[in-house]
Structures are given as C-alpha cells and as structure tokens.
Amino acid sequence: MKLVVIAGPPSAGKTSLIKQIVKRFKDEITIAFLKIDVVKAFEDIELKKEFGILTKKVYSGDLCPDHAGVMVLGDAVAWAEKSAADLLIVESAGLCLRCSPYLNQGLGIIVLSSISGIHVPEKMGAMVSLADVAVITKIDLVSQAEREVLIQKIKEVHTGIILMETNALQGNSLHRLYKLIKNSPDIDKDNLFLKGNPPLGTCTICVGKKEVGWKHHFGVVQKLDGPFAEYLYRGE
C-alpha cells in the first residue's frame, strides 16, 4: 500500500487537490482516506459521496491534530490494509506549525495557496521544510511574476523540494504529481517514523492546571522579560 500525507493551512486547497488525485486513480486502485481535524470536518462525507471511496475521520479535540495523527495513524494503516486499499491518503489540519505530519515513508505534500502571503513558506517551518512536494494552488489569481516570487521563497526554505503549480479546481498540470504517487514505493508499516522532531516536552497547562502565575507551573515556557540566554523556563 502507498501512503500520501497532505498538509497545509485551512483553505489552501488540500481537499480540492485530493479530489483530483482520487479522480485520477479511483478506477485503477482502491483508495482509503483519513481526515484528521480539530473541531469539524466534512471532507470524508464529501469524498465518500462523490467518489464512493473508503473514508474515516478523527477529531483531535483538545489534542493537537499532529499529535492525534501520530497516535491514530497505526490504526488507520491497519484499517486501510484490511480494506485492501492500495493507496491511503491522510489529510492533516496542520495548525500550530511547530510540527509536520510527514513520515519517513510515503509522500509528504504541502499545499499552499498563491495568495497565502510571501512570508508563509518561512513561517510554516517543518510543514514546508520537511515536505517532499509543494503544490501551489489558485495560480489563476496571481500574476506569473508573483507565482515565481513565491516559488523562489519556498526554494530558499527547502532547496530539494519538488514544486508544482495548479488550479486545483481544474486539476491543471498535475501529471507530475500523479507520476510521483504512482512511483512511490509501498510502505513497510512496522517501520513508520515521524520525519521531524515532535515539540519539546509538555507543561502543566497542557495537562489541565488552571492556576495563574509562575509558582503554580513548570514547563518550557519563556518568561515575558526573561534574559535571552535563558531560552527555556523550567519552573521555580
């Protein structure tokens, strides 16, 4: 089974891109789809209705979606394999920009809209720098020069990334992506690892303490006026 992990900010065009991928492959292979979101998601229902593929979703709720993704992905791979899927597509909400959901196997795709802002490639950290492929969407909304400026910015963050531009609603120029998916090797489910490092530690807020002030807490939060050398606050 092949694995594709798709990440990117809300409204970048992830689902539109997934629809194009499903449309391209649904008659040749069995596709399973997992959506990980925080509060609300409709993509699984939409894709099932439109293409009749296997879908599942999970809400991370109070947990960060990438954390939830790591925990449930083992189950998802088992579910997809049991359902005899040839391709598992995972769509991640990708919110805090600290992590990236990409794994050491399969294909990691970042979806960015051409109008998302020129500094976004730098701001999104690991979600861009650890991706295998960047798909720039909504290219009909900006000039060619501006598209090339955004591409240059992404390349300066991640020189090895494979870049492609599309209007995901029409699915323009995605042959190259389809080829990459087709040629990506099957995953070995016992050796799946996160590509990036998870966030450092945890803190008392994360586990639910409500008291205000430093004396009630410890963790890795920096003080407001803390000295620069003291990068991390470790509790009083």
Binding site: I115, I118, S143, Q144, E146, E148, S173, H175, R176
Partner: protein, 259 residues
Amino acid sequence: MIKEITIFPGIDKNGFKEKFTYIKLKAGETVSIVGPTGSGKTAFITDIELLAQGDTSTKRRVIINGEIPTDEIRYNPSMKPIVMITQNTKCFADLTTEEFLQIHARARKIYDQKVIQATIDLANTFTGEKIKRDTRVTVLSGGQTRSLLIADAILIGAAPVILLDEIENAGIFKQEVVSLIHNTGKIVIFVTHDPVIALLTKTRIIMENGAVKNILYQNEPEIKVAQNLLELDKKIGHVREELRAGKAITYDFLSVNFA
C-alpha cells in the same frame, strides 16, 4: 533558443475535438487571440504558459522546437522560456517593489542588480503615477501593477515568448508597450478586445466555446485600417491625458477626425 512553438488541438466546452490540425508559431511572429468573453482566450495562452501536455482542462498539448518540453523547462522558472502578463492587477506579496523584483530576478537567475532600477524606470514609462523603489507592491494601483509586471516580463522574465492578456485594460500607455515588444524577434501573443492591437498582429486566432474557431492572417486593407485606427487612437489618447491632467478641452481638439 525557441524557433517555434506548436499547439495541438484539445477539446471545446462540450468535449468535442478542435478542428485545426496544429498551430505553429515562429520566432518574430505576432499573434492576437480574439473572441467574446468566456470563449477560452485566457485558457489558450495559459496552456502555452504551462506548456500543457494534455493535463489542463482543454487537453491541448504544446511543444517547443518540435520536442516535448522537459520537466526542467516546465517547472523551473529560470529555465522557462515564456513570460505571461495576466489580467491580475493586484499583488499579494507583502514586499517593496525593490524586494519583489530582487526575488524575481533570483528566481530567473539574473544577478546584475542594475536590472532592478531599469525595470522600475521602464514601468514608469507606461504609467502616469510613478512607482518608487520602496513602494510596497500591495498598494500599487491596477495600472501601476500591470506596468510593473510588463516591465518585469520584458527585463527580468526576458523570455523569447511573451503572452499578454488584455494589456489595454487598467489605463496604461498601450502604444508604448506595443511598439516596445514589436520587432524583438520574440513570439508575442496578445489576448485582446482592442481593434488596434488585433489589426497590428500578423495572425489572428478566433475563439468560440472554448475552442479555436478560425485562424486569419493580416491582409492589405487591414494594414491600412490599422494605420488609420492608430492615428485615431493617438488622438483619443491625447484627449484622455488632457482630461486625466484636469485640463478643460478647447476648440483645438475639434480637429480630431473620427472618419
């Protein structure tokens, strides 16, 4: 170097195959794409810009010098032999004009910094209100944005194929633009509703329902009519600039001959 590009037929909006066998455009050729709005003009030049290989909604294929372009040519801006001026009159990048041009020059692998000022200077010949180096591109007017993008396409894009989507819009000095890119040995393709631009090109591609309907070549009377319209257009331009400058129009302008 691009000697020619060849476009192979795709499908119209109803899924029927286009009726031409292929369209071959040679270096130095000027072409206009005409037809009603929604007839597929922009989609036609977008296919050329993306060097489509049956993977756009029109299913057309475009080849260069008789060969299928490599991935490198299709996807690496510094290798891309095509620049396109789209209808966009807005930049979203939060950058100054100088930064925008610097990054684009890097993308196109141009390292001579003189190109930045040269591009701004050229843009300022197309627009009434001057653009400065430190003007943020997000606050440029529609006309300023297009002027900048045209100058950028000519000097930084510097490609052998130029695609221009309705440059007559947004109130720029179109005569300057047209005279500048004529006779450059490039393949220049105008999507246009402007009779002067359409009549000045050697080839006209007529679009309908998403497909190429016909291809016409400039004839003798059209060359003469184009000259006529050009004169008229200059006079209208003169009146327009007087009005834009806040001046009152006098009897002197009555000499304008609309015949």
